[in-house]
């Protein structure tokens, strides 16, 4: 990994949800396993994968909304626990999350003023805490996310705003905390295509201006290439490939990454190369742990070894690693 100030680090974090309850408890659902990631100040990392790949669970673990089943999350080198409410609040003042659906992530009963005043007051960012102070700061936040004039939005209610405007409010709410890390969980997937770029540009600008470490979660690998410096690919709760975004999108290593990239129409790539050979099999069953590679049941290149032994990381080129036996150099 290249230089830069690591703000948030996840070290082999896993989350298993209990399946069923009490007496009839099943084995559990392995939503995320062995998740390791560094988030660096002023850098954007994209987390890419299909639905159910554990992207959102990973984001919520990093946001402290779930406590990890195992593994450690460290913030500026210090290990984090989010079980006690006080500790949760302290952690929240460093790490913020923007949720996917702007139509449900704002409380319909309260005005925009409420949504911004609460984080300001909770984290002591409201100056004197007086009404005028809170109002001025809330308005400034709205203007920072290009909702101008900010004051005009304070007394509006969420249902009076458009999806893009709501997502901007959601971003402003996260900024009110003055975080160092921003986790954007598919921030544009619910929005019209025409306004997606505006929101992504805003997040990019804030990353630079606020010196944020940004995690951009998406299922759209094309936007990840545009937006992020590094891309991590997730499959069935595990990270299968990680590297600079140009490398991962232009020369994907893992068969699953190749599948993801091949689904994006790209004029640069030679036409006619069929991707249909890759698409087969079913989505993974997260309640069962496979002995070998999680992608083996769907992989066109699967070997006997893939079904027996989980692949470790292989790093064919600097800073770009993959978890796949195809890249075992001793074998080849």
């Amino acid at each position: 990994m290249s230089s830069g100030e690591v703000v948030l680090r996840a070290e082999s974090v896993s989350k298993t949800f209990r399946a069923g309850r009490g007496f009839f408890r099943g084995g559990g659902l392995h939503a995320v396993s062995g998740f390791s990631l560094d988030l660096v100040r002023e850098r954007v990392v994209a987390l890419v994968g299909e639905s159910g790949s554990g992207k959102s669970t990973a984001a919520r673990l990093l946001a402290g909304l779930y406590a990890p089943t195992s593994g450690a999350i460290t913030l500026a080198g210090r290990r984090v626990s989010v079980r006690a409410p006080g500790a949760r609040r302290r952690y929240a003042s460093h790490v913020q999350i923007v949720l996917q659906d702007p139509f449900s992530s704002l409380n319909a009963s309260y005005s925009i003023r409420h949504h911004l005043a609460r984080p300001l007051l909770l984290h002591g960012n409201a100056g004197s805490g007086k009404r005028a102070d809170v109002e001025a700061r809330s308005a400034a936040l709205l203007e920072e996310v290009s909702l101008t004039p900010g004051r005009d939005f304070l007394d509006r209610y969420p249902h009076e705003l458009s999806g893009g405007q709501r997502q901007r409010v959601s971003i402003a709410r996260a900024l009110a905390v003055r975080p160092e890390v921003m986790l954007a969980d598919e921030p544009v997937s619910m929005l019209d295509v025409s306004i997606r770029l505006g929101i992504l540009r805003l997040l990019g600008r804030l990353t630079a201006e606020r010196r944020l470490a940004l995690l951009y979660i998406t299922h759209d690998i094309a936007s990840a290439r545009y937006f992020a410096t590094e891309i991590a690919v997730m499959y069935a709760g595990e990270m299968v490939e990680y590297g600079p975004s140009e490398d991962v999108t232009q020369a994907p290593l893992h068969p699953y990454s190749r599948l993801l990239v091949s689904t994006v129409p790209d004029p640069d790539r030679a036409a006619g190369r069929g991707s249909d050979t890759l698409v087969r099999g079913e989505p993974p069953d997260l309640t069962r742990r496979l002995a070998g590679c999680t992608f083996a049941p769907r992989c066109p290149f699967a070997m006997d070894r893939c079904r027996q032994q989980a692949p470790p990381r292989f790093e064919p080129s600097g800073g770009h690693w993959v978890r796949c036996w195809l890249f075992d150099e001793q074998e080849a």
Binding site: L65, I97, L99, S104, N107, S109, R118, L122
Partner: protein, 310 residues
């Protein structure tokens, strides 16, 4: 209702002042519900009756006279009892204690159900489960027999005592409903977002979630009011309350005691029975109105509005 939606679609930028918040929209939707309006008028009339009743009662409800068991006439609008007391005066004086007991009980029970039900749904693990078990225990306790046993031993059988006893046995159902609603709200994005900014737990439960819990709380309050009025009448009928004070229940007790039914004195027992039924109906109608509000069909309309704002 359609015209209202259309009006908002025409001017999505300019919001009508009324019905901006969920609570505001709920009130305006309730106003439009004919059932709820009818219920509110009915209950309102009984509340007025309870307040002014004792002052407009033509006679002292306990005063006896020589006119025994007379059917309704100009002198005694609702007739008299076996000891010559005026039934109308008893009805007017009794309204107060019946309604007072109903609302007081409902208030106690609602507070209990919110305090137990909401946290039991919000907290997972031991805390939530034990609060939920507490509610379950009270839910399966047979209410009326228990109340009868408790009342039989209590020296003071005033309204306050009765309200406490009835509410202790009647809060659990509301707590179950609130628990279920809270459990589903907990996973909603706006609540997750409130947790993400580090919002205090009590504020999440009682500020962020409250607008969505309110219809259930109000509906539980109204339901418990009916339950309490009927329970009081049953207890009074069995002679377990202070039968020297007037309520609709004690009227029925005396009517039964003095064999009003066998004597054919329908004017004695029908008015209090009818009043209880009408209050119950009024509160029930308001509840129907609230049900309409929670009904998914109304939510579909709200979604349409939301879609147009996109």
């Amino acid at each position: 209702m359609t015209s209202d939606v259309a009006a908002r679609q025409v001017s999505p930028g300019i919001s009508p002042r009324e019905g901006k918040t969920v609570t505001g929209r709920a009130i305006s939707a309730l106003r439009k519900s004919r059932l709820a309006t009818a219920g509110a008028i009915l209950v309102g009339l009984f509340i007025i009756m309870a307040i002014v009743g004792p002052y407009v009662a033509p006679y002292n409800p306990s005063a006896t006279s020589v006119y025994q068991l007379t059917s309704p006439s100009g002198l005694y609008l609702l007739g008299t009892t076996q000891s010559g007391q005026d039934v109308l005066s008893q009805l007017l004086s009794g309204a107060g204690s019946s309604l007072e007991l109903g609302f007081l009980t409902a208030a106690f029970a609602t507070v209990l159900s919110v305090v137990v039900g909401v946290p039991s749904g919000y907290f997972s693990g031991v805390a939530g489960e034990s609060l939920s078990s507490l509610a379950n225990v009270f839910l399966v306790v047979p209410a009326l027999p228990l109340i009868i046993v408790i009342m039989a031993y209590l020296p003071n059988r005033g309204v306050l005592t009765m309200a406490v006893v009835i509410s202790v046995t009647g809060w659990a159902w509301g707590a179950r409903q609130l628990r279920a609603q809270t459990m589903s709200l907990r996973r909603r994005d706006d609540i997750v977002a409130a947790r993400a900014i580090g919002e205090k737990t009590w504020r999440i439960m009682f500020v962020e979630m409250m607008p969505s819990l309110l219809p259930i709380i109000i509906s539980g309050f109204l339901f418990t009011t009916v339950f309490a009025i009927v329970t009081e009448a049953s207890l009074a009928f069995l002679g377990l309350t202070d039968v020297s004070s007037w309520s609709w229940g004690t009227m029925l007790y005396w009517a039964q005691n003095d064999q009003a039914f066998t004597l054919g004195a329908w004017w004695w027992y029908i008015p209090p029975g009818l009043c209880i039924a009408l209050v119950g109906m009024g509160l029930g109608l308001i509840n129907f109105g609230i049900d309409e509000l929670i009904n998914p069909r109304l939510k579909v309309q709200r979604n349409k509005q939301r879609g147009s704002a996109r």
